[in-house]
């Protein structure tokens, strides 16, 4: 019976493992960090192709219904665009992780629904090419 009641007995090699993993995480955090800037366009991708895009401004509010595919028996994601933020407010996916991702408002932020292969991405720049319908 080897120390069943001993608590967290780390070995020396653990320090190296944790250090390497920690450095990798820190490096990825530095690499992928972007300065938050205001977004102006919300683009919705479904199955890796663009489904729709809307301009994102304080005065613009809209509910967007995104079916998973065209035709009957399709699931859906329900998006809410309001006050410069985007939220997934409804979904038919099994675990609803997309609804737990909260609201996004900054450039480069994304909302993902993996089972539905849905990506909502905020972009900056000119809002001219965004179609609001």
């Amino acid at each position: 019976m080897k120390n069943i009641f001993g608590f967290f007995n780390f070995k020396k090699g653990d320090i190296i493992v944790f250090l390497v993993i920690g450095i990798m995480i820190l490096g990825s955090a530095v690499t992928f960090y972007k300065k938050p800037t205001e977004a102006s366009v919300v683009r919705i991708y479904r199955n890796s192709e663009e489904y729709a895009s809307y301009s994102l401004s304080q005065s613009y509010a809209k509910n967007v219904h995104v079916p998973t595919h065209d035709g009957p028996k399709a699931g859906y994601n329900q998006l809410r665009i309001e006050n410069g933020t985007v939220t997934i407010v409804g979904s038919t996916c099994p675990n609803r992780d997309c609804m737990r991702m909260g609201s996004i408002s900054k450039e480069g932020d994304i909302l993902i629904c993996l089972p539905h292969r849905l990506v909502v991405r905020l972009e900056g720049g000119d809002a001219i090419d965004a179609v609001s319908y």
């Binding site: 780390f10 493992v17 990825s28 675990n95 994304i110 993902i112 292969r117």
Partner: protein, 173 residues
């Protein structure tokens, strides 16, 4: 002394129990969100970790493959098949290599589990980025990896305790 047939039936029963535990745990942990979407506690990997430690690489790989197939059929469906497959296989293989250093007494199970968790989350993010053609998925990677590191340390600690119990009860009778 146990007969060969007893040996085989014991092994079969043991595999069935492990698989049942994996399925129940992965169903349970799906309902325990950890704050960051996509990060789960990983209790089902605890079983693979214990198998790897007590019964060796072959049993653990069998558990991993069965877990992937069962989660495809019973729990998640095909939409998350590639995530489960990539995560489970890469963590199982990396832990199989890492556990040699545990047996040489160089690292503890916490280290082995941390390596497995790191490979698990990284491969899942790579799969997400490639299947969705969206590299910006990695924006959430650092915080997810950090949370995975914490949970996998806890899992490694748990697996050390469980391994002590199992090897006491299994080898002695």
């Amino acid at each position: 002394m146990r007969s060969p047939i007893r040996e085989i039936s014991d092994k079969t029963a043991f595999r069935a129990i492990c698989l049942a535990v994996i399925l129940v745990l992965s169903w349970l942990e799906a309902s325990v969100p950890l704050g960051v979407p996509g990060v789960k506690f990983g209790f089902s990997n605890l079983v693979i970790l214990v198998c790897l430690n007590v019964y060796g690489f072959r049993e653990a790989l069998a558990m991993a493959v069965l877990k992937i197939l069962m989660s495809l059929v019973l729990i998640n469906g095909f939409s998350s098949f590639w995530y489960t497959a990539a995560g489970t296989l890469s963590s199982c293989l990396s832990m199989a290599i890492a556990i040699r250093y545990y047996q040489k007494n160089k690292i503890s199970m916490m280290g082995v589990s941390a390596i497995g968790g790191f490979f698990h989350i990284t491969s899942q993010y790579v799969v997400a980025a490639t299947t969705l053609y969206t590299p910006s998925v990695f924006g959430m990677y650092p915080i997810a990896a950090l949370l995975t590191l914490l949970t996998s340390i806890i899992l490694g600690w748990l697996s050390e305790k469980i391994t002590g119990q199992i090897s006491n009860s299994y080898y002695d009778y």
